[in-house]
Amino acid sequence: MLKAYYQLSKYNKNNSLIRKTRKKKSRSFLHHFHQVLSPILGCAVTQTVHIHTTGNSFSPNNAGAQFKAADRGFGTDLGPDIAGIVVGTGNNPVDINDYDLTTRIAHGITSNTLEYFNCSVRALTINTGSNTGTFELYRFFRNSSGGSITITELGVLQTASYNPGSILISYGILTIRDLVSPGFQINDGEYMKVTYTFQIVS
């Protein structure tokens, strides 16, 4: 069984913790998670069909096809709000075919935007005693919008990159989406950290 959990915390501008939610079980590996998993188990990546955040579909060719969640790497990376952990203000129920958050918050410092910092991964740990393996994907955000923002949805957009010719193309595909209820308010000047923990149990 592969499970995921999410946790939100927020800090003031001096990096002091203000609030932390308990770790909650993520409900929502989406259809696209299979599309990311299937190529290495025998379904050639060219046969996978992905729908990216604009709602359009594409099938990568085999040349250097990649899917990554943390925004470190090569090539034409997407904007920070189209890759890695993303947050939003929508509250539509999760649909297994979702391809974007209902209302994804854009990266920025204007009204109703958040600054997205690097999305990173904490080292993988294997616990032989409990037969578990765990790692964390996390991201910091800062509210410089001038007002408060309430987060009601989270997701993980994996960057799908491939090279159909002479130029690398990248899209964001949504593999996880969760609703946050009650909403998590982040005030102007505050930082928020969102952590997804992935765990297998053998």
Binding site: M1, V36, S38, L41, G42, V45, F67, I96, N127, T134
Partner: protein, 192 residues
């Protein structure tokens, strides 16, 4: 079987003889993603290499850049759905089946067909994706399957393939008598 939130595994099998269904069992809960699976998830998430142990027991510095250069399933018994006769309890550190049943018609062997995958099917709350393989007993005696596994094929550099065990499960003994065909399905299901 009750759907569990997350990514879960179930296993089905059917035994046929001259086309006639002899025995079947469906929705056997699979318990056991092993270390290489979450390592792969880590590699593909972080886009950073990591040392993984392949099915030969060799530590491999797995690069992320080639992790998706893939091929269709083949008749190779080196990857895809595998079966074995071992009965040791599953450990998260398993990197291969305990005793894989070899491809062939010799004693204790089964003939591996080309693996197949079905398109992912989706309903309101689940997506299920299936990998299947047929094993034929062309030997002269009964062969008993006690363990099943799922092995991925991952490129390390542009032309070097490695095989990594992702799942291993112990099943109640499945006896495949001479001439029978065992169809084994691995179902990977996400539930919201």
């Amino acid at each position: 079987m009750k759907n569990k939130i997350g990514l879960s595994i179930s296993i089905d099998y059917e035994i046929r003889e001259k086309g006639k269904l002899i025995k079947s069992k469906y929705n056997i809960p699979g318990h056991s993603f092993v270390k290489q699976f979450i390592q792969w998830l880590f590699v593909s998430s972080f886009y950073k290499g990591i040392t993984m142990t392949n099915t030969s027991g060799t530590p491999i510095s797995q690069e992320a850049a080639y992790v998706y250069d893939t091929q269709f399933l083949t008749s190779s018994s080196s990857w895809g759905v595998q079966i074995g006769s071992g009965t040791d309890a599953v450990s998260i550190n398993d990197n291969k089946l305990q005793t894989q049943i070899a491809h062939g018609t010799g004693t204790g062997q089964l003939q591996y067909s080309t693996g197949t995958t079905a398109a992912a099917s989706t309903d309101a709350t689940t997506t299920t994706w299936r990998l299947s393989r047929v094993f034929t007993n062309g030997s002269s005696g009964t062969v008993t399957v006690n363990e099943v596994g799922l092995v991925s094929q991952v490129y390390n550099t542009w032309d070097v393939i490695n095989y990594y065990l992702f799942c291993r499960d112990i099943v109640s003994p499945i006896e495949v008598t001479v001439g029978q065909q065992l169809t084994l399905n691995y179902n990977l299901k996400t539930t919201i």
